[in-house]
């Protein structure tokens, strides 16, 4: 029998439907793979009983012919999504033993459609990080290595567990979240496909909040088609989330393979950063060529406020985070470190419960919202945000259908390599991705081959609001042209 963990989600779905194997077999194969991949530290909690029980039910429904669109498909869940009765920590000590009594809307839709949960995936603490090194459970190791080196690389972050697990065959797809690039950068670092949908496309209800106006859930998968399949189940209006948008969910898979002839692809000149590595630059050009070969037209466009995006993002996101994380106070749930009075209880609990990066962002956020600084920082950042959104609106109004950029300025870097760098250098990982969150647009990271060090490199497609379909169509062209890449399974 073929290695069931090396199938794509679409192949597995078709195999299950054709009864070539059972969900139980498929699920067990993944549980075994997870067992063997402890070195990657991708999962922070494996739920084998739940997985096998889910697989059994799925098999019954498959046999009865009333299977859902994801029937029997084993997936991993980023530990930011609340899962009913299953520990949910956001990979923070402050929620180390928190077990919710509720299920996030996004994951409940996966289970509604028949998916099977394998467990909870590692991430940067409260999704704050670009390397998965801020996780209370320790860093995730990228399945990819540089040629001729056994140095451990990061799988990116914050959805590093999700990207590593998908790349390593530890699940057929994973949920992830993206506030400034947390789906797209890890996907680019691991040769996987990651979609950050339009803001409001997926419900935020039951997902631990980082920055509410930027957070958006999305899938990480091995192929563009898989991404389309998973997104369809994750997306949809939710009356419990006031920012979710009431709009039909299209059949995203139908867009995969759709012709892109005549599409106008914008190439933003401001993304050609000074000092951008020649390798990334060349990759970008290759992407343009592939799309042109498929009948699309490439046009240079301008997004003039791009250079302010990162600074504005690192005001808006921490500001919201500083307020969103105030609820972790040791009073009702989660970690409590006692003190002589309530102020000391807060201080002790939060000092022990939050890691350095989370504390840094809470402090930044508190500062920029403070009396006397609010106008200079927060209000100005919001104005920048409006300008960034207008930049995109202008480009789309000029007839451009999607925008092509690199996903990251570099390939995956080594764990600990950035330890002595300033936080700003780490934040630069998000330089190509944050604008998309600031504007609330959909963005797709798609693998575009390997670089000189043998590491995967990714391109990013940015779309019009709620036009995920065009991204999937164009992404499929890139994927077909670049060819799929898989990590060598050195950990086995």
């Amino acid at each position: 029998m073929t290695d069931l963990t090396q199938l794509t989600l679409a192949e597995a779905r078709d195999g299950l439907t054709a009864r070539r194997f059972s969900s139980t077999e498929l699920t067990q194969a993944h549980l075994d793979a997870i067992d063997a991949a402890g070195a990657l530290n991708a999962y922070v909690l494996v739920t084998p009983e739940k997985a096998l029980a889910g697989a059994k039910s799925a098999d019954e429904r498959l046999a009865a012919g009333n299977a859902g669109p994801l029937e029997g498909i084993p997936v991993g869940v980023k530990d930011l999504f609340a899962t009913d009765g299953v520990r949910t920590t956001a990979c923070s000590r402050i929620l180390e033993s928190f077990v919710p009594s509720y299920e996030s809307t996004v994951t409940s839709q996966l289970w509604r459609d028949g998916a099977v949960m394998l467990g909870k995936l590692n991430n940067d603490e409260f999704a704050m990080g670009s390397s998965n090194e801020t996780s209370f459970f320790g860093p995730v190791v990228n399945p990819w290595r540089r040629g001729g080196s056994d140095a451990k690389l990061t799988p990116g972050g914050s959805s590093g567990g999700s990207s590593a697990a998908v790349a390593a065959g530890l699940c057929l797809g994973a949920t992830a979240t993206d506030t400034g690039g947390s789906i797209r950068q890890p996907a680019a670092f691991t040769g996987t496909v990651g979609m950050k949908p339009t803001y409001g496309r997926c419900s935020r209800w039951g997902t631990v909040a980082f920055a509410s106006s930027l957070d958006q859930a999305g899938p990480i998968t091995r192929t563009v088609r898989d991404c389309a399949i998973l997104l369809r189940s994750m997306a949809g209006f939710d009356p419990k989330d006031s920012t979710s948008v009431e709009r039909d969910v299209p059949d995203y898979e139908a867009a995969v393979g759709r012709s892109i002839r005549g599409l106008r692809i914008g190439i933003p000149k401001e993304y050609r950063l000074e000092g951008l590595s020649p390798e990334i630059d060349a990759l970008w050009q290759k992407g343009v060529d592939w799309l042109r070969d498929a009948g699309a037209e490439a046009v240079e466009v301008s997004l003039p406020h791009t250079s302010y995006a990162l600074a504005a993002y690192y005001i808006v996101a921490p500001a919201e985070a500083s307020s969103n994380l105030a609820r972790y106070d040791g009073v009702r749930y989660g970690l409590r470190v006692p003190g002589r009075d309530i102020a000391e209880l807060y201080e002790n609990t939060r000092a022990a419960g939050f890691g350095r990066e989370v504390k840094r962002r809470i402090l930044i956020g508190t500062y920029v919202l403070s009396a006397g600084y609010y106008d200079a920082y927060y209000v100005k950042a919001q104005k920048v945000r409006t300008l960034i959104r207008q930049d995109f609106e202008n480009v789309y109004a000029s007839g451009v259908d999607a925008i092509l950029t690199p996903a990251t300025p570099t390939p995956a870097f080594g764990i600990g390599e950035m330890a002595n760098a300033s936080p700003i250098e780490m934040y630069l990982n998000d330089v190509f991705t944050v604008t998309v969150n600031m504007a609330g647009l959909p963005g797709l990271a798609v693998p575009a081959g390997l670089g000189a060090q043998g590491l995967p490199l990714g391109l990013q497609l940015i779309g019009r609001p709620f036009d995920e379909e065009t991204l999937l169509a164009a992404g499929e062209v890139i994927e077909q042209a670049a060819g799929r890449v898989s990590a060598p399974q050195w950990w086995k």
């Binding site: 999504f81 609340a82 949910t88 956001a90 929620l95 928190f98 919710p100 009594s101 509720y102 996030s104 935020r204 209800w205 039951g206 997902t207 631990v208 909040a209 920055a211 509410s212 106006s213 009356p239 419990k240 989330d241 006031s242 920012t243 500001a319 919201e320 500083s322 307020s323 994380l325 105030a326 609820r327 106070d329 009073v331 009702r332 749930y333 309530i342 102020a343 807060y346 508190t366 919202l369 403070s370 009396a371 609010y374 927060y378």
Partner: protein, 490 residues
């Protein structure tokens, strides 16, 4: 800022006159089934933490969803305050840490409230009418309650109130005495209760006031104010203002200055004391709540609510004056509660309005107050009281008998007309019977007959004697006529 000084409100200090300036922030709990942003019940008096949803307790990933009924209630209230309704308003987060504030922030409205400027017309007990400006009304979440005296080693938290909708109604500093301030709160409470947007029950905390007090020399600019937090009865509001004004005058007359600060009113001692200074004030780090879109609605929504509003106290009072010929004072008393006004109108239906008002205000209210009852629990119904008034009007009973009859109906119930029949309370209009009684009295008191001719006021003595002998049932007018005739006085 230099409004003309009204001299009647000035208070004397040791060094001259002072004027008190008062503004108020009223927190009124919105009448609604569920909380402002969650489906949990707002019912009062549940066991601790009985009415708490995951949203109210701020569990990870929980999100607020606005309760449309609370929005409608705020708009109705705005209309009742003749205020500008803002079709777009914004919810902000007010950030601070406290155990009874689970989110670590209160969702409130800061820069863009749902209701803008309005006004309240207030009748002051001394007979003047003042207009108190409303600066704004905004919606916000209530906090939970910390309980410090139930467990020796710990404070406990009850989140039943956490997330309940409040309307914060901010007045302009338009009040100049504790009487005006008390009258303002009373009137505001009346309006809220008419609208059905707040039950106004101060005992249950449904209405609380933060009172801003400052003093100044007449005609001078505003003084530094102190805010007295969470005063929960109208009487205490008056006491707190009186105390605080005297305190500030004392400080200023001793050459001191007033520190802008937040103070607490101690109802037991009847004094205010410092809670925190301006320097200790929180930096609330307000910013728009990213979990909520701006609150927008159409003018048509406002118009629909306006159509459904009940007649409000000012309009009702004017109508009582014009339709029933009542004095402004009586009309004001009757409209203070919607139930009372309704009761009056039921009594006054097809009857003399003034008589109805007299009976409702003097007899019924007097009795109700004495027994600690309200019109809702009154033993005498509007129908019964109306029947009593009818019997007077028809001259079946005298006013004096009517009071006895009212007493019987109050204690025993029953149909007044039937009671009059059964107990023979009908007044005697048979002049023959009255004449006989008069003759008997005249015959028995020749000395008085002589005296009355010199001193006509003695006629009252004869009236009394005849009434006594007829059991009070003699028609007073007929009796008077007969007596005057027989005694030969004009």
């Amino acid at each position: 800022m230099n409004a003309p000084v009204a001299t009647h409100n000035l208070i004397k200090g040791a060094t001259g006159d002072w004027e008190i300036v008062i503004g108020m922030e009223i927190h009124a709990q919105v009448l609604s089934q569920s909380k402002l942003f969650s489906g949990a019940s707002t019912e009062f008096g549940g066991a601790p933490n009985d009415h708490v949803s995951l949203v109210d307790a701020a569990f990870p990933g929980m999100l607020p969803v606005i309760n449309a009924e609370c929005v409608a209630q705020a708009v109705r209230t705005g209309l009742g305050l003749k205020a500008k309704i803002n079709l777009r308003s914004v919810f902000d987060r007010k950030n601070y840490f406290y155990p009874d504030l689970p989110q670590g922030y209160q969702i409130s409205q800061y820069k863009d409230p749902i209701v803008g400027e309005g006004e309240v017309i207030v009748d002051v007990p001394d007979g003047r009418q003042i207009v108190v400006g409303i600066e704004r009304l905004h919606l916000e979440q209530d906090a939970g309650k910390s309980i410090h005296d139930l467990s020796p080693g710990a404070s406990l938290v009850d989140l039943n109130r956490s997330g309940v909708a409040l309307m914060e109604i901010v007045s302009r500093p338009d009040m100049r005495s504790s009487e005006e301030a008390k009258a303002y709160v009373t009137k505001l409470r009346t309006i809220l209760r008419y609208l059905g947007t707040c039950d106004g029950d101060m005992d249950k905390g449904s209405l609380r006031a933060d009172v801003n007090v400052s003093v100044r020399r007449p005609g001078e600019a505003l003084g530094t104010r102190c805010e007295i937090k969470n005063v929960n009865s109208i009487r205490f509001i008056g006491q707190a203002i009186e105390y605080e004004a005297r305190r500030q005058i004392g400080v200023l007359e001793d050459g001191g200055t007033i520190d802008q600060e937040t103070r607490l009113f101690d109802a037991n001692k009847g004094e205010t004391r410092s809670m925190r200074s301006k320097e200790e004030a929180h930096d609330y780090r307000y910013f728009p709540d990213p979990d909520l879109l701006p609150l927008t609605f159409e003018q048509a929504f406002v118009n629909g609510l306006a159509t459904g509003l009940p007649e409000l106290p000012d309009a009702k009072k004017a109508r009582f004056v014009s339709d029933y010929g009542l004095s402004a004072y009586d009309a004001g008393v009757l409209v203070a509660e919607r139930e009372t006004a309704d009761f009056f109108e039921e009594v006054a239906k097809a009857r003399d309005g003034k008589a109805a008002a007299n009976w409702v205000i003097n007899e019924l209210f007097g009795r109700l107050n004495k027994e600690g009852l309200t019109v809702a629990t009154s033993p005498v119904s509007a129908h019964q009281l109306g029947a009593v008034i009818d019997l007077i009007g028809e001259k079946v009973i005298s006013g004096k008998i009517a009071k006895d009859l009212f007493e019987i109906v109050w204690t025993e119930g029953g149909d007044p007309r039937a009671i009059v029949e059964e107990r023979g309370l009908k007044q005697v209009t048979d002049t023959g019977a009255i004449e006989a009684a008069v003759d008997a009295i005249i015959a028995g008191n020749p000395d008085k007959v002589e005296q009355v001719k010199l001193k006509p006021t003695l006629l009252g003595w004869f009236v009394g004697q005849v009434m006594k002998s007829t059991g009070g049932k003699a028609n007073p007018q007929a009796l008077n006529d007969i007596l005057k005739d027989k005694l030969g006085i004009e």
